[in-house]
Amino acid sequence: MNIEKNKLRELYTTMLRIRLFEERIVDLYARGLVPGLAHLYLGEEAVATGICAVLRPDDYITSTHRGHGHVIAKGANLKNMMAELFGKKTGYCKGKGGSMHIADMEIGILGANGIAGAGLPIATGAGMSAKWRGTDQVTVCFFGDDASNNGTFHESLNLASLHKLPVVFVCENNLYGISVSQEMHQPIKDIAIRATGYDMPGVVVDGNNVIAVYEEAMKAVKRARAKEGPTLIECKTYRWRGHHEGDPNQGRRYRTQEEIEAWKKKDPIKQLAKKLIEERILAKKAVAALEKEVTQEIDQAVAFANESEFPKVEEMYEDVYIREGETE
């Protein structure tokens, strides 16, 4: 597939944005500025980027506890994201949700979710909704390898296939469900084969090759928009750091240094940079400039979050219910 240059640059920038954002969170979290939990997407940038690059603003995604990458790729504003992570009232969720619940209906982000596998039924529902309303909106559902063992996975794929819903199920197989390796939590290696049980196409793709991801996403989204039904895309990928910040030694309680190093060598950003520079789509200087630009963007987001206020205690009681006459 021939991807035009602008698109390639866009892919690169998005991955960079995710990478630098998450690296900054490492530091901020260590300093106690990001309370609670942080599950970082470092190493998996190509998956979110490649998939979301195919989507329109009015398409939907459901995300996971490891959702920063998804929401950035879908177009979330870094300032509001950072503020939400800091727990400030200027955050996406007014500070009430935190890292695992970032949502923005206007750009189709139906929420990151703290419950493994919860996004599958919700995405299926968004698919039903598009069908009812007669639109050609597509919903992408991100979930992990271990979540594919949950009842919700099977129920959702069954229902989506039965009704040919416009949903793309994207499994980010990073080989671990927290500390339990794939071979210890399921008898299969390729999750994509489960699609057969639900009478829909299942494909395996190299999750570190953003172009490959992009191309598969294109096919699946096209199929969905044409009302031909759902697809299961399995992205083979790997997270560089532990399950959460605080997971000792980047998850070396259950992973080996060799394994981590091996995957780090497949760095999706380095891969794409090499290709872009070789094919003269991007100059080396431009790459450095881009990095500087994105860093600045993140600096601004941090400054914004720092300057913002925490919500007042009374706000704890707001938004439990919608009062009559309240508009969104």
Binding site: C93, G95, T124, A126, M128, S129, R133, S156, Y321, E328
Partner: protein, 326 residues
Amino acid sequence: MREITYAQALNEALKECMKEDERVVLLGEDIGRYGGIFQVTAGLLDEFGPKRVMDTPISEAAFVGGCVGAALTGMRPVVEIMFIDFTTVCMDMIVNQMAKMHYMFGGRGRVPMVLRVNIGAGRGAAAQHSQSFHSWFMHIPGLLVVTPSTPYDAKGLMIEAIKNDNPVIFVEHKKLYAEKGPVPEESYSIPFGKADVKREGKDLTIVATHAMVLRSLAIAEEASKKGIDVEIVDPRTLTPLDRETIFSSVKKTGRLLVADEGHKTCGVAAEISAMVAEEMIYFLKAPILRVCSPDTPVPFSPPLEQAYIPDEKDLLLAVQRLMEYA
């Protein structure tokens, strides 16, 4: 006024709302072709077609969670779970998703869906098909909980539930489906948070839900022959709860009996008792009594099940106990 059953009243409400707003869709097991096991959705598949009346596979998490996703993206689904007992298999979708999205997302995103369930023992359906743990949902902030006791209330509250932008748990009662009552033909809605005083009285207050309302009305006549004047307050919605009406009734009578079919421990009656004790202690002439189901699973054998269900006998005994406090 014509009289129809509770089930028919609900059917009418659904039909009217579906006619008026094409975003209203129904999902559930056996609701389409079969018309629902209690016939609440009878005829709706024929009228609105399979696109809007969907028979689902046995996948509660998928279709209840699906309704959450659909509601987030512009639909107004009404989903049925066959018995309240089955909500356990999709509890995450109800408690962690449906109830919390509006709050967690800081007000972005609404889930205007109605989840219909039913409670009540008495049909020999045994332990896993006869429970009444609707108090669990009263316990979760973010959910509205509706408990109609008459056909009139059922229709009006269902129409309100569908129009309301909040997620609603609509709790019906197995033994009330066949009860008849006067219901207007036109569309009307009953606001949430407004209790209905089903009988005025001055000696004691019974706050009752569902079938306990009807049972209380039955014993009220007997009690009046003995010179006891009973007031019956039907909250109609547990969340939001009409505290003011309950309080002013207790202020008037000074004696409170709370009747609900959930278990006694940690049930709806426990909450209302605590609330009244907290706010109205100086108006109580007697201790607060609760008439509830015992703290056991629902037994199968008919005489046991009969003893299990809190009924007129239990209510009368409690009333008499209360009246001993002059």
